[in-house]
Symmetry: C2
Subunit: 248 residues, 2 copies
């Protein structure tokens, strides 16, 4: 196993960071790594906003509710971005790009582009001994984040990424058995996935009972059903449409 | 610069592969790496389908139009997947998960989860000396891919990833200047991005004229406006909705 794969397999989300700062050079390397990810037809349909302003971090923390959103060495916000393309097109009165701009297809492209970039940023950071945590909870109040970052039309905040030197070492959370998520040539019917999910439920029950902090009695299946039975972030859809994306 | 960052910065999409096969162990490592990516609330809202059947590769090639979709050591299809969760919830008549299941929020989650996994697969493969190319062109006929892979409701094919030993070494394609995509504390207005885009247009013009194959005269801005002025894949939106996702 090479060092890169070791880094990847060693991933755990870090939610507590040392006070130690990271250098501009480190940030630069992380962003350069993000940019080198594949991008659909070279569109680069994303923007990364680095948050160094502490008052702003405080406001973003209020949206997220997680203290690591304010206590970290750096916070990056990954946005899907088709504004740049729209502005370029607006300069030429003879063309209309509305159909593509507002399509679910391009909304998917922007979401994928931003995510591939973020995962490159993640691996680059982790390879330097830094820890990261994705912050999906910025979508708890996506309108507020939009306002705080002064995002124009056709730009939406997708998630944050906090970075810093780890001040704890959580256990690595087990994943579903490979056979449940990796299928051969066609989709494996659910009833054939079930035994793998049961094995995972058993494993997670053990994991939750014996992990180094925050122990509880739970299974993955129970957790998922509970989670999904509570409607959450139903304002994301109207927000995205209001920004001019995912409309057709 | 460590080896992992070197691997990341050295990325170029590979579209021509040697006949050399990759081992089951290599595939296994790539999938394990994919699985170790972060996932929103541990939902793991994706499935990866490995295509080893040559007749199936041929059909997928017809959708994509790119010969590397059939000529490769392995082809992975990354799908957003909320079917698993729905089946778990269906077992309990007292709960309803419809709002979340059909929300744009969870559609975003599935797209991000699949993408983070794919980028881990990419970096793992590249760290082993393999090359990859993302295949967004499977969305040229997303209904056909859906049919070929026998995807149930709440599962959609997002993109493919071809893997193999590189049989060419394309130039690394320049990206937008860092300042255009990495902003500080708030969105950088387009007029302030413009000088970076102009610099990139100049760089890309040089790149296209002097790269080792497929030379042409073009700029990024012109390419983007041309690309976006042709409505494409407008059937993705109704397809996704018909699968029970992105509805509310």
């Amino acid at each position: 196993m090479n060092q890169t794969i070791e880094t990847i397999l060693n991933h755990r989300s870090i939610r507590k960071f040392k006070a130690e700062a990271i250098t501009d050079e480190q940030v630069n390397t992380i962003i350069k790594a993000a940019q080198q990810a594949s991008t659909s037809s070279n569109v680069m349909a994303y923007t990364i906003i680095g948050i160094s302003d502490n008052a702003l971090k405080e406001e973003l923390y209020k949206v997220s509710g997680h203290s690591h959103v304010k206590n970290n060495a750096h916070l990056l916000i990954f946005c899907g971005d088709l504004h740049r393309i729209n502005q370029l097109a607006n300069a030429d009165e003879s063309v209309s790009i509305e159909d593509n701009l507002e399509s679910t297809e391009q909304f998917i492209v922007a979401t994928i582009d931003a995510s591939l970039a973020a995962q490159n940023a993640t691996i680059a950071a982790e390879s330097m001994g830094l820890g990261i945590c994705y912050i999906g909870s910025l979508r708890n109040d996506i309108n507020r984040v939009n306002e705080l970052l002064e995002l124009p039309n056709h730009v939406i905040p997708l998630f944050g990424l906090v970075v810093g030197y780890p001040d704890h070492q959580p256990d690595i959370k087990p994943r579903l058995p490979l056979e449940a998520v990796y299928h051969q040539n066609k989709y494996l019917p659910f009833y054939e996935q079930q035994k793998h999910i049961e094995a995972y439920d058993h494993e997670m029950k053990q994991y939750y009972q014996t992990r180094s902090s925050n122990t509880k009695i739970d299974t993955w299946s129970d957790q998922m059903v509970r989670k999904f039975s509570q409607p959450t972030r139903m304002d994301v859809s109207p927000f995205v449409k209001q920004k001019g994306l995912n409309l057709k």
